[in-house]
């Protein structure tokens, strides 16, 4: 019943991907498809808003790892924002904050893409 939802909107030049619900081995391919769609249009500035995300497993983490190189090679980035503490702890456990910039607010993150 819980499920997983994605909603992507362009804000200025940034693709803001709001994810919510449960990101596990069952739902990870949905996020993968979304990233595929975005990057195949030549959009490489991706901001993932985690506000609604309740759960992430390694299958979910794998999606970010699977696109970060491509995105950076094309002068873009995957940044993250509004992650709750529960999710942040998983990222932190594995050192992901060394690779991904994580912002408290969406506005800050979008601002950062302008640098």
């Amino acid at each position: 019943m819980s499920g997983f939802k994605i909603d992507t909107k362009k804000e200025e030049s940034v693709s803001v991907v709001r994810i919510s619900g449960f990101l596990d081995a069952h739902t990870a391919h949905e996020l993968e498809a979304e990233f595929q769609g975005i990057t195949s249009k030549g959009d490489y500035k991706i901001l993932v808003n985690f506000a609604g995300l309740d759960y992430i497993s390694s299958a979910g983490l794998g999606v970010f790892m699977g696109f970060i190189e491509l995105v950076r090679e094309n002068g873009g980035d995957i940044k993250m924002c509004e992650m709750n503490v529960k999710i942040y702890k998983i990222f932190d456990l594995l050192g992901f904050p060394n690779l991904y910039e994580i912002f408290d607010t969406q506005a800050e993150a979008i601002e950062k893409f302008k640098d």
Binding site: A25, H26, S57, S58, A59, M65, I90, L93, L94, F96
Partner: protein, 138 residues
Amino acid sequence: MILQSYQIKIPAKTGNLEVIRNFLISSLQTLKFSEEELNKVLLSVDEACSNVIRHAYNFKENQIKIDLKIEKNKISIFVTDSGKGFDPSKIETPKMDEYLKNFKVGGLGILIMKKLMDEVEYDIRPGSQNKVKLVKYF
């Protein structure tokens, strides 16, 4: 001494990962785990089950069994498959510095279990039963 036993046996498919998590949440709700500790258990079992679905069964539907044994000072969870098995001693623990630098993908499940649980132990018997035991102390 085992005080309580809970078992679930269900089709090994990713759509059932949620069923498994919900089963654990409701079975563990009366114990005095903090939400943080409960989350560690949920994620570790999810990783073990995701591995069964993908690696043991290669996404072919088969049964997965999860046993939860509650004792006075710990819980033990056994995730059992009847799939092809593997040699856990051959699995290298990823070094996260290099991992992240080289944009690696996958290979984090067992590491997560080891980081989040107090004990992680594989008992692999290909052709009969492969089992991982995950233990958390109160």
